[in-house]
Symmetry: C2
Subunit: 335 residues, 2 copies
């Protein structure tokens, strides 16, 4: 095996076969190397969630994770937000010529370990190589299939006035960890991306209540964007209280220094849940018992809309502030 990825690793030739058979397949759990057909064969029954994401994060290694862990967790989480239990995943690489093979190995190990934790099987994949200067080290695509348990119906469209809004922990950790790595800045001690698979947390929540109306992971665009998407989808007004939204001191300090609003900074291991008020306590307790939900908090509730759907924040100063979607870009290539 060469030390760096060459264009020939992306051909149909021997080098490509060796890359896939010697490096990629052994690193991935659940694949059956005896069956090298173009498709994986899987048995499925019932309502399924199906999702995809491409990952172009810069840098590919960051405090708390790398592009491989991010891809597996991101697709796991997208499935989980429909209430689905993740089952199968595809994995596709676009590699820039010259990527050190050791980097690819580290990322494959990280993919393996994230898939193990999430309990998802990677069953099919693809590898392309592009010439130097036509990608930035490595892009990853994952698509996932998950099974939706009978009776589960979780969608942004189900949100209704009265619902409590529960957030699973601190906001902005991922975005600020990436920024700090990218810009070579140090904000306090060891700020890590929150990148994590949330499917077990969602299972715990669904186990605690049949009245979870909607779930969403506030990634690109942060909590503000997610809340806006959900108020638009459900035609409601979402009111959150600034003082109840958990945030790490170092993230708050970094945001102040960089002029960023943490409400718009990406998360990769958090979710926001909309729950019938009478069940909010049960759901919150279940979340706090899960390691990815220890800082969970009820941050607000849903009201009838004014003229149009909106998101409003009651600030620390006691005023009300409209939380809009940004027009442009806060942090490019954050996932």
């Amino acid at each position: 095996m060469a030390d760096t990825i060459l264009m020939a690793h992306g051909s149909g030739g021997k080098l490509a076969h060796r890359l896939v058979e010697d490096l990629i397949m052994p690193a991935i759990s659940g694949t059956d190397p005896a069956r090298l057909d173009d498709s994986a064969i899987i048995e499925l029954r019932g309502r399924m969630a199906f999702t995809t994401d491409s990952y172009v994060i810069d840098p590919i290694f960051f405090p708390g994770g790398d592009i491989g862990k991010l891809a597996v967790c991101g697709t796991t989480n997208d499935l989980s937000m429909s209430g689905a239990r993740p089952l199968y995943m595809s994995l596709s690489f676009i590699i820039e010529e010259g990527l050190p093979v050791s980097d690819l190995k580290r990322i494959l190990e990280s993919i393996h370990s994230a898939a193990d934790e999430a309990g998802v099987r990677i069953v099919t994949g693809d590898t392309k190589v592009v010439d130097h200067g036509n990608a930035d080290k490595l892009y990853v695509n994952t698509a996932g299939i998950g099974t939706i348990p009978t009776g589960v119906d979780i969608s942004g469209a189900n949100i209704r006035p009265g619902d409590k809004v529960i957030l699973s922990g601190t906001i902005g950790d991922h975005g600020i960890a990436i920024m700090s790595k990218r810009e070579g800045l140090q904000f306090g001690t060891n700020l890590l991306s929150d990148c994590a698979p949330l499917n077990k947390l969602v299972e715990d929540m669904i186990g605690a209540s049949d009245n979870i109306h909607a779930l969403r992971d506030p990634t690109r665009g942060g909590l503000a964007t997610t809340l806006n998407e959900l108020c638009l989808q459900s035609g409601t007004k979402v009111v959150v209280e600034e003082k109840k939204i958990p945030i790490r001191d170092e993230v708050a300090a970094a945001c102040e220094m960089l002029g960023l609003d943490p409400m718009y900074v990406a998360n990769e291991g958090k979710l926001v849940a909309f729950v019938t008020p009478s069940d909010a306590g049960k759901v919150l307790s279940a979340m706090r018992l899960n390691k990815y939900g220890t800082d969970s908090a009820i941050i607000g509730e849903v009201e009838e809309p004014d003229e149009a759907p909106s998101v409003v924040m009651k600030t620390l100063l006691g005023t009300s502030r409209l939380i809009d979607i940004l027009v442009g870009d806060l942090l490019p290539r954050i996932c």
Copy 2:
């Protein structure tokens, strides 16, 4: 809508929402814009094929197709090669900042039309934008799910000595069409890529015989690489006759001029089938009635292996030549 894609189109902000809602979603059949959750919800029952590919072809527009048509057809064909009927597809873009919006529109129209022809529904997707110089215009990933009819068991592992090898048409059209566009060369008149969805052809074949053992589309690495993969997977010797392999005059001429062996040149609308000898005639007749199989031919048969699995060609001169897998790269970024 701006004339070119900006970094902000890849953020979680308003420009990103507008791109997806105004341009991408309307261009895609079968999506339900009312349901903007992270996953599509689909009903599935039984044995399914699941596959993915990323497409990095250069150029993104070529004679006979574009990267969008290629992605839909490629994933349709990978599913079909397991005998599956394609049902659902995901679609993910990595766009280089500066791509003309008109190019994206053309590609979306082409995706729409290829998906319509294949009868596959695009139900979920993702869009990322990277800064200028970190991609080459546009990369596309598709993942697909298809249903395998009861009783169908098609795999390279099922090939056995005696099987007839049937090829669905001329080889090398895609690779040479791309080369001619890339290098600005003209080989004869109007050589087009063969890029096409083969699922209906496969349905016709399965309708004609229960004894199709294996199917494979000879894409990257060409027919030679595909035959090698299959002889290795099944532990057999595959013997093909050069004079029976269909090839266009202009492709043969171009290969001679460029010093390429057409056996290694990529195809995107051809398949090779391994069929019980007694059914080969029926399958061949069914194939010739389909517009994507008019030039189908029996090109060889499977034998017991010698010491190791191998692919052998009986040449026009009457000699035998071992057809190996290439080590390196013939035509980079051909798909």
